[in-house]
Symmetry: D2
Subunit: 344 residues, 4 copies
């Protein structure tokens, strides 16, 4: 059975395992105040020299999003997200559980635009006090559909956030693949655009660790209180710093993502060649195809993948490449895709 | 200046003032455990003989909706509402503030259908655990657009709620006008269809009082704890029972609503005759017209009303009749509407 | 049956009823943005000329406390209160329901001291991040035990709040009786000491209205959003402003409180003379006596009062005077107290 | 520098590292629905054959406590804990952040008694509706002071919980040391006494994993929804199951705890012999001594430990043994303790 189900179905890169073994002979301060977390924060900071960021480590995207948003917003303030955004769909209401409405904006290929943000903001201002106050914009980059924001889009969003006095937050669960998708910006730019964002480790070769980067000085104080209250401060916090050392010490973070993207592109191109309609043209490590029931049945018994949606009789399926995926597996998948087409 | 701004801009019917004066010489137990609340509950219960309901009194629609939903739902459960529903729009995130997502369904003339409920429910079941669990259906009757659910629509909604094991809640802020709109059902039917609903007094001639009716036995216990915790249990609770005696003792509740509807219908028919497009064909005491900027300016200086929406250059405005509105005022409004048309 | 159960068991002073009748012929803007609320705010503001306060009207003490605290505190911040404080005991966890811990301090005659505040604060600083951050001090004045803070106590508390950067909030449910208890400070002083406080109307002759006064400029913005979200913004808001006009236009607020205190003092002195032990020496309109079971039984059948506590076989009972209490009732109570003693 | 600071300052037992390396070549279903979690759940279930428990894995004590309590309680319900209980002190208000009051009971050597539970419950029933409803009893075993509940104490607590219809929850962050402290009960008994409890891995040789055991059938449904909403469902969930396989496959869980206790007892006995007063007689892996300032200074430069409290000039310090502690380290500590005494 080939595994293309997701990018969190396998352990971690060898560098991290090695660090774990090495750390197993040492003693540490608890709760993220240790030499590994310190070193990892410095490594991450070195990637964004133009902005002074505070770095904190948390395990899991939902917990990270929840902790950030709980920290930033006052009770009556809301966060604006694409209707495909992770916080709007697949976090079981974690943001509402902290008391905040997620205002959704119709997505365009998984993204939202500066224009749609302004429109929603203005609509809320008319009913001042009787509606929530939109105070934060949440974007995922790469998006849940595998697409990536362009420099121009991000600059426009930052600009509208400046104009309307909104915080900009980036969910970087798949920030690695976004940065390696051929775009013309880096972590250093992201730190300048965003008030707060996180760099996802879990889906990019780590065991389970995300690095929260707080760029806006006004948002830096007391974050550790909110982490602790939200159950997001690990006793053995050095385990998280350690993983980011593994990811960034020799730029494995980027190398993994680059390779994932290439493998995914190979799959996508093969699928196009074979005549599979794309649900969405991906630029990263997610591939979305539309298959008919026969193709679906053929693939299902040979490949582990996710069903994304149902389109009448057809099915949208998702293949995901990870740090663990091999070219051999990609070639096998190509063969199965070809055979599935032939049985039609 | 004519007042057609809303149905909560004036005091109360004389019956209630008289009761207030009379009660001012008596002493009462606090927190709604007094003879007025008891008598009011019995009066209300007498309108729904086929169901044994628990009756509680709260002031204000937002506080009432919030208290009910907080009481009924478990943390991960969500309430489903029309995208025009009051809890989804004009309660400043009061439901999310209690931790619950409001899942919105596109409205059809302010209403939602059994089919749309089933569709949303099924979509959530596919992503079990990763999405909130839709557990309650919230409908407003009359709706925020002045429309009223038919018997057939309500029976279908009840049926899908039974099938999917969902609670049905009716926001009856304008239940009086709904019941007097010519439909073929009564409070007795509503008590059979809904698990919980409230009868709005504030917008129907009272000073400020809503009667929560809990029909589902499973939801009856501990409601007073949630009221108290939510700041919804008034020390001088008899003031609320008293208002419902004023509304129901001689059926003023129905008479007021009937008259409001008739006055609104007169306005709506006059507007149609004069050639004003309707934004929505109302069946109750709300009238929605589309006016151009010149008409708007003319009316604005003579009549107090709400702007509902902007349509390019045109403006959707809302006139509301209340217990306090006179036929003379309606006739004046007709004259102004005619004059506004003539200046075009 | 004599009524000494509480100060919220009867309607309102005649001035308020008269205003209600008069307002019943007028039309108003909703949600507290009307001429009555404006005039009432000005009246209240005129009592505290040295501080510019924002005034908002809410119905009910629990809802008021909850709204203020939700507005002021960030998620990880906590409020410090006496263990007898209303928010710590008789609000069914309303503050915790907003996510905030109530840190309790042992009371001294219902009060807390600057020293105890500092001690609790310092203890929390040692466990920084692992404990909540104490950010607000809540005091009731008069206290739940009928006692009143002295000028010196309040100045010391303000001083420690300045030193530790804490907000000071005063629950003024019974602020009238406190101000009329013979102390040497006024509303003008309270506005200088407190960041936020409320003047209770419900227990001082109104139907149900409290006036929130925000003195700290940093806390003024967006309060109406939190009110609305918390269900604390009444549609017919003018009803609340109106009540405060009734209370303050001719200083009825003070006159009522003065009279209540005098009647209570008469009861307390009579009780002392008769040999009843006091549970607490009250300075306001609450009287706490210790009675034995026989005395209790005798009184119970003649007077409506509250049981405050059980002391082995004895019972602590509470008598409360209100705007409605007459000297005749107080004399009758004196007779019953005498008779109860005689049957021992 | 000797490390006796805590039991979460070092990595994990070698068995777990080996499993990690082995699992690194495999692919898994996400979110705890994998073969490792399944096998771990079966292993744990095998230790409590008389009760059918549901087992879920979460990382971190605060997140686990918060998730359980959020799952179990309705909004107005509260949890009762010792004033030394972890949820009452060192979780930065995590339980209140979910809306629930933590009612504290004065501890007796870190424990609460059936009698104190009944007393608090009864006091709340008198003020029914105006106070929170105590619905759950939280106990830590071993306690935060290193003490352990006896069989008799637990049977009495269970009995009062049955009588008053309360849920019993055990925080088992240090359940291993408790079970190995010489008491006459096992996990099988705990599963019969508790409605829900958790077995702590983080402080007992794992990297970071706790096993929630739900024994009460009424509490089993929908727990995964609350986990996900609370950010407590790890994408790479098999990492948690895997750790419990490492702990329980060859009973390392028990062996570690036994050894920790023995090492701690050695320290405690040595300290007694040297004349150090105990703050608390520990039965597990925590040792609390009272030292004077000179002793403190001497030890501080040689040993890493926690300050627990200040007693006038003296200081209460805590030594903790862990899976990683060696007899050699214990002997060195003994030497330092001796030397510290001699410099007095």
């Amino acid at each position: 059975m080939l595994f293309f189900k997701n990018d969190y179905g396998q352990g971690c890169i060898p560098e991290i395992l090695t660090l774990l073994e090495q750390a197993n002979h040492e003693s540490f301060n608890g709760y993220g105040q240790d030499r590994y977390c310190e070193a990892a924060a410095e490594l991450i900071q070195s990637k964004m020299p133009d902005t002074e960021v505070d770095v904190h480590f948390i395990t899991g995207g939902t917990l990270t999003n929840q902790t950030i948003i709980r920290h930033v917003l006052r009770p009556f303030e809301a966060v604006l997200a694409a209707d495909t955004g992770h916080i709007a769909t697949h976090e079981t209401g974690a943001i509402e559980a902290c008391g905040h409405k997620v205002i959704t904006v119709p997505n365009n290929a998984g993204k939202i635009s500066a224009a749609s943000i302004r429109k929603v903001f203005n609509a809320h201002m008319i009913q001042y006090e009787h509606m929530v106050y939109p105070k934060m914009v949440y974007i995922s980059n790469a998006t849940e559909l595998g697409t990536v924001y362009t420099r121009k889009e991000l600059e426009e969003i930052r600009s509208v956030c400046n104009e309307l006095n909104l915080y900009l937050m980036m969910d970087g669960a798949r920030l690695g693949p976004a940065l390696m998708s051929g775009i013309d910006y880096t972590l250093n730019d992201i730190a300048k655009w965003c008030d707060v964002f996180y760099i996802g480790g879990t889906k990019n070769g780590a065991l389970g660790a995300e690095a929260v980067c707080i760029a806006n000085t006004m948002l830096k104080s007391y974050f550790r209180f909110v982490m602790k209250q939200n159950g997001a401060m690990l006793a053995k916090g050095w385990l998280l710093g350690l993983q980011f050392i593994g990811l960034f010490e020799h730029d494995e973070f980027y190398k993994i993502a680059k390779r994932e993207n290439e493998l995914a592109r190979t799959i996508q191109e093969e699928a196009i060649k074979l005549g599979y309609p794309l649900f969405m043209k991906s630029e990263t490590n997610l591939v979305f195809l539309v298959v008919n029931p026969k193709e679906f049945e053929y693939l299902k018994s040979r490949v582990d993948f996710e069903i994304w949606d149902y389109w009448n009789d057809d099915i949208v399926i998702r293949f995901v490449t990870s740090f663990h995926t091999t070219m051999e597996e990609v070639e096998y998948l190509g063969v199965y895709l070809k055979e599935a087409k032939e049985i039609d």
